[in-house]
């Protein structure tokens, strides 16, 4: 079975930060990267996140599989952007410097290339931070940190339960799927599409029905233990904020403010080197 969220337990300053800190930092960081198209900021962010990777002692090979997925997605996304809107850069930056292709629809322009460069940088500023969050945050601490951030404890607990039951449901899916295959149900490319959908439902129906029974059992057990009777609840894995937590959060908040302020100061989300 695949290790789902790839939590890697290594002693490092990043691991020592509380889950709530890392959650707040990741959200602020990704929002900052999402909002801005300022190239200078977008170059700075990947550099910082690579430094943080060094500090966290997470190695390249730990996240290799995910990085490959990211890379494929990035290439695909850039290609579709170019395919649908080859002159998007020109509309954004307001000028047109053709490299090759003259007046053709798919003429290559400097503006378009610069726009793609920015798109790639946006990925590079977001993904390392998310990977860092996944690899250094203990899933069971995640729910506690959600609650600490201000999410209602019932919703936090639902997230914790989700993480708890994903491996179970996955295992059950494998069991049912193998049982059905032993009875001769074909899921591979040899079958027609409609038949494949139909055979997927022969797996899905038992899986869903047993999950619905599971809901009954779990909610009865929780009710018996008095879940939801009080306004608040405590968490076994919750930790107190220390100095470094405040420093990390302040740093990310600063970055977020810079990203927002940049838009208001320059009056545009884009950094324009063409005028």
């Amino acid at each position: 079975m695949i290790n789902l969220f790839n939590y890697i337990d290594r002693p490092s300053p990043i691991h020592k930060l509380t889950g709530a800190t890392k959650l707040i930092c990741t959200v602020l960081w990704t929002f900052a990267a999402m909002v801005t198209y300022d190239t200078r900021l977008l170059i700075l962010m990947p550099v910082i996140s690579l430094l943080l990777f060094r500090v966290s002692k997470i190695r390249f090979r730990d996240v290799k599989v995910m990085l490959i997925a990211t890379f494929a997605f990035m290439v695909l996304n850039n290609l579709t952007v170019f395919l649908f809107s080859p002159q998007h850069g020109c509309t954004i930056y307001g000028t047109k410097h053709v490299i090759i292709g003259g007046n053709a629809r798919y003429a290559l322009t400097e503006e378009q290339l610069f726009y793609h460069f920015n798109l790639i940088l946006k990925y590079l500023s977001q993904i390392p931070m998310i990977l860092l969050f996944i690899t250094t945050t203990d899933p069971s601490e995640f729910a506690a940190s959600l609650n600490k951030v201000g999410v209602s404890y019932k919703i936090s607990y639902a997230v914790a339960l989700t993480l708890r039951y994903i491996p179970d449901i996955q295992r059950e899916y494998v069991d049912i799927s193998q049982a059905q295959q032993a009875r001769g149900i074909e899921m591979s490319k040899k079958e027609s599409l409609i038949n494949r959908l139909r055979s997927a439902s022969t797996i899905l129906i038992p899986l869903i029905m047993s999950s619905m029974d599971r809901i009954e059992v779990i909610s009865n057990a929780m009710e018996l233990r008095g879940f939801g009777k009080n306004k608040k609840r405590t968490w076994y894995v919750a930790r107190r904020f220390v100095k470094w937590d405040y420093i990390a959060m302040a740093g990310c908040a600063l970055l977020f403010l810079v990203s927002i302020a940049g838009i208001f100061i320059s009056g545009s989300r884009f950094y324009n080197p063409f005028v």
Partner: protein, 183 residues
């Protein structure tokens, strides 16, 4: 709105876990290269019908966010929110369907499918692309094309998987008034 009961909490969790497992592991290879048909929206629609809008909203939101987190392509908040909105709308639109009472005949099938179609159009034709434009400022044509493709495939799988699930579930439940007192 009903109280946020323990059962809703658990339904959200199991719904999100099912969404995750379906979205990540049950991918049916399709004729188009590099795309596979995912069936999680059928499951999400079913959960929304059975447990209501709040459960649908949160199961879709949490499930999709976790899929994105685990896949490593970054969390696309616009699409995560759209999944949540789909669950929410689906729950509201099908409030009248009483699956727990074992009622899922022709009228309910039509109601279910019309609502899921409308909800998919709203989510992938409107919510996801508009949020994408606001957040990411990518080309408008590309975003609407993406929304269209995923909207259609989601609507088709929801129509097949979702309907089948609802029928199967309703069949397993005893109908209201199916027991008669002996004279």
């Amino acid at each position: 709105m009903k109280k946020f009961s323990v059962k809703t909490v658990v339904a959200i969790a199991v719904g999100a876990a099912l969404f995750f497992v379906c979205g990540r592991f049950i991918a049916i290879p399709s004729p188009v290269p590099n795309t596979s048909i995912t069936i999680q929206y059928g499951v999400l629609a079913f959960v929304a019908v059975l447990f209501g809008p709040v459960a649908g909203l949160l199961a879709g939101f949490i499930g999709h966010a976790l899929v994105d987190f685990a896949a490593g392509w970054g969390v696309w908040w616009s699409w995560v929110i759209a999944s949540g909105v789909f669950g929410l709308l689906m729950g509201i639109a099908t409030k009248k369907i009483d699956l727990e009472g074992g009622e899922f005949g022709k009228a309910e099938i039509i109601r279910f499918n019309v609502s899921q179609l409308v909800c998919h159009i709203i989510c992938w034709g409107l919510v996801a692309p508009v949020l994408d434009i606001l957040i990411y400022q990518e080309p408008v044509e590309k975003l609407f094309a993406q929304g269209l493709v995923s909207g259609i495939s989601n609507a088709v799988t929801t129509a097949i998987i979702g309907t089948l699930l609802c029928i199967a579930y309703a069949k397993a439940k005893p109908k209201a008034g199916s027991l008669k007192k002996e004279d």
